[in-house]
Amino acid sequence: MTTITTRESTEDQAVGVKKSGGFTASAANYIDERTSISGAVKELGRKIFPDHWSFLLGEVALYSFVIILLSGSFLTFFFQASMAEVVYDGSYAPLKGIPMSAAMSSTMDISFDIRGGLLMRQVHHWAALLFVAAIGLHMLRIYFTGAFRKPRELNWVIGFVLFILAMAEGFTGYSLPDDLLSGNGLRIIDGLIKGIPVVGTWVSFLLFGGEFPGTDIVGRLYSLHILLLPAIIVALIAMHLLFVVVHKHTQYPAAGHTNQNVVGYPVLPVYAAKAGGFFFIVFGVVMLIASFFTINPIWNYGPYDPSPVSAGTQPDWYIGFADGAMRLIPTGWEFVWLNHTYSLNILVVLIVVGLFIVTVMIYPFIEAWITGDKREHHVLDRPRNAPTRTAIGAAGVTFYASLWAAASSDIMATHFHLTMEGVIHTLQATTLLGPFLAFFIAKRVCLALQKKDREIVLHGYESGRIVRLPGGEFVEVHQPVDEYERWKLVSYSDFKPLMLRPNAQGKIGATEKVRAGLSRWFFEDRITPVTQPELDHAHGDHPAEITDK
């Protein structure tokens, strides 16, 4: 190695190109002369990323996706996406001689007869669960810190579409082995589609190539699962990351953090090393889980057959909220009109879940419209400093969690010795009333925390030291907050409810009235940040300064 390097450099010198640094430098130079990549490296390498654990959640999702791609490629070598009937003749005794589809049979072979196959299946499935879970936690972080505000609204939408696509990927993958569990899942989807008035049956027949289950669906889902959906996801991830680079990363409020700077580490070398190493940590965790814990034991479920349904049949966790929504609908919600049955038990679920999804997706635009805020925000909100948003989030989480919990109503009933009806009725109540309660509690908690912050800024911490003055009076000595901490406590955006203003024709439209009303509701009991005069007044003879935001 060394000898070659030396010879190359001497040759370079011989032709008159001046170089130093040996092989690495000349290799880098070779690449740069042909790709002009140094510009990109210079730009990206000096990019600053703030260091906080919650900023790594998106990375976890990305890394899980890479793990899914790697393990999934392995699985495609052996999986047969065909519903042709074969007789299983592999190693698992309780299925030997049972007719099943080639898809199920090849999945059984992957699990029992291909070296490392079961581990790869489990890595693939566990990584998929982690992928969607990491996206969920990442979204919660973005929401509660207000990171979706201008200029990042579009990136929120892209991220949310990725979340939906991840669920679609998960569901198509869950359906591929053609085992009893996945077949039951598809049957529910088939029922949902058929519940749509007028077009339902046609759409179902189009999707399944005839009457359910038919012999086409696995092949079709396979195309979606390994070709179309991953391609869209990869493209959207690229856009998502590009936007992160363009917008620069957000940062938490802290001393010296402003909307004009980013405080953190440059990508090269520290951050790149950390992030690269973190990929292997995530891979390691997934590997450990996949080695020790069974996931989707298709050998228990057996091949799909439309007649049996197992107790405890549920979808993977991310579809759980939709399954739970259907379990919560009271019985008998349907009516017959013009000789057609209208299944409200399905339509209501589709409408409510659909509205919920759309609302979450366009939330940044709704909030921007209500607040009328057109400023750029690069410093995150502490959740308490946006009480109404935090309260809306808490309400949304409660609503989602109730639906989600409902998907395991039967498991809760058996494991906590409850009645199924009791569990369902309780969850119906938490779904409808829980969000209001959560909204109220979260808002009051936020306001209380804000008041506490104000108190600390104005009067400092209680030191517990009681001093007796010469006149006999007792006072408690307060320890003033230091200026670094004060920055964090006072530097948040102040808002006022929108003023109703007449338009060019001198009229106030109905929309404007609604908007003003919502704005009032959003900000009515806000706590304003401490101002300089307030601070001067509180400190009297020993003035403290609020540093410019």
Partner: protein, 270 residues
């Protein structure tokens, strides 16, 4: 042990009563006789209990019944407002209900819960003999149907079709309405599984021999014993409860571990 010692003891006796091993030999002989007599006695009782029609056993069962069961089931097992009639339920029913501890019932509820068994095997057999003597009913299955040596593939398929909707495909149990439930079928003896199928205890339907033949029942038991004896090839099975357990696991332990690691990675070194 004792048999080996016996010839040596005889030799010792030839040498005289004062031989150092004489007392040992005496104790050994004594133990041999008592043990032998006791063994002979218990074998004879075992034969007596398996003979369900023995009048003596039925009489013993009747006494036990009057003392422990008649409060709810009536003095002549005719039933009352507290419990159903047991005329015609057969020996299999008694063996299942009493043998798994469900009867005598601890309290009225959605269904009788499994609990520590209250009667000895002998007493259970006597109760079964008494109830069987009242009217013909399903009998305790023959041993050759319970050997778990049938066709597990056929059993698995029958289990999925007939049983899994309540008991779950892996026999992990499941919920029914109004607090009733289908229990998990792990660590349940082959005899009790068979008896459950032919008698339909609690909320379970009866699967008689016209419905599922005795050989098919044997296959189902073979499958259940296969699942019980062979650990999941994928690692810990998380209770075989399906995606709910998996989802909880990934959120709590998977994502929990990952978040702990992100905190570790971004911690400031001191």
């Amino acid at each position: 042990m004792t048999k080996i010692k016996t010839p040596r003891a005889r030799r010792a006796r030839k040498a005289g009563r004062r031989h150092p091993l004489a007392s040992v030999a005496l104790i050994a002989i004594g133990l041999l006789f008592t043990g032998g007599a006791y063994a002979a006695f218990s074998t004879s009782t075992a034969i007596a209990t398996t003979d369900a029609s023995s009048q003596q056993t039925i009489a013993q069962g009747e006494k036990l019944f009057a003392a422990n069961c008649a409060t709810c089931h009536g003095l002549s097992a005719q039933g009352s407002s507290e419990g159903p009639s047991l005329i015609g339920v057969g020996a299999a029913s008694v063996d299942f209900q009493v043998g798994t501890g469900r009867m005598p019932m601890q309290m009225q509820g959605p269904q009788a819960q499994k609990k520590p068994v209250q009667f000895t095997a002998e007493q259970t057999a006597a109760l079964a003999a008494y109830v069987a003597s009242l009217a013909p009913g399903p009998a305790i299955p023959a041993a050759e149907l319970l050997d778990s040596a049938g066709d597990s593939a056929n059993g698995a398929e029958l289990f999925r079709i007939n049983c899994a909707m309540c008991h779950n495909v892996a026999g992990a149990g499941g919920a029914l309405t109004e607090g009733k439930f289908a229990p998990a079928i792990e660590n349940v003896s082959a005899q009790h599984i068979y008896e459950a199928m032919i008698t339909g205890p609690q909320n379970m339907p009866v699967f008689n021999d016209m419905n599922i033949s005795p050989e098919d029942k044997r296959d189902i038991i073979t499958y259940l014993k296969y699942v019980e004896d062979n650990p999941s090839p994928g690692g810990l099975a998380l209770g075989s409860l399906g995606p709910v357990a998996e989802g909880l696991f990934i959120w709590i332990f998977g994502l929990g571990a990952i978040v702990a690691l992100t905190v570790w990675i971004t911690a400031k070194s001191n």
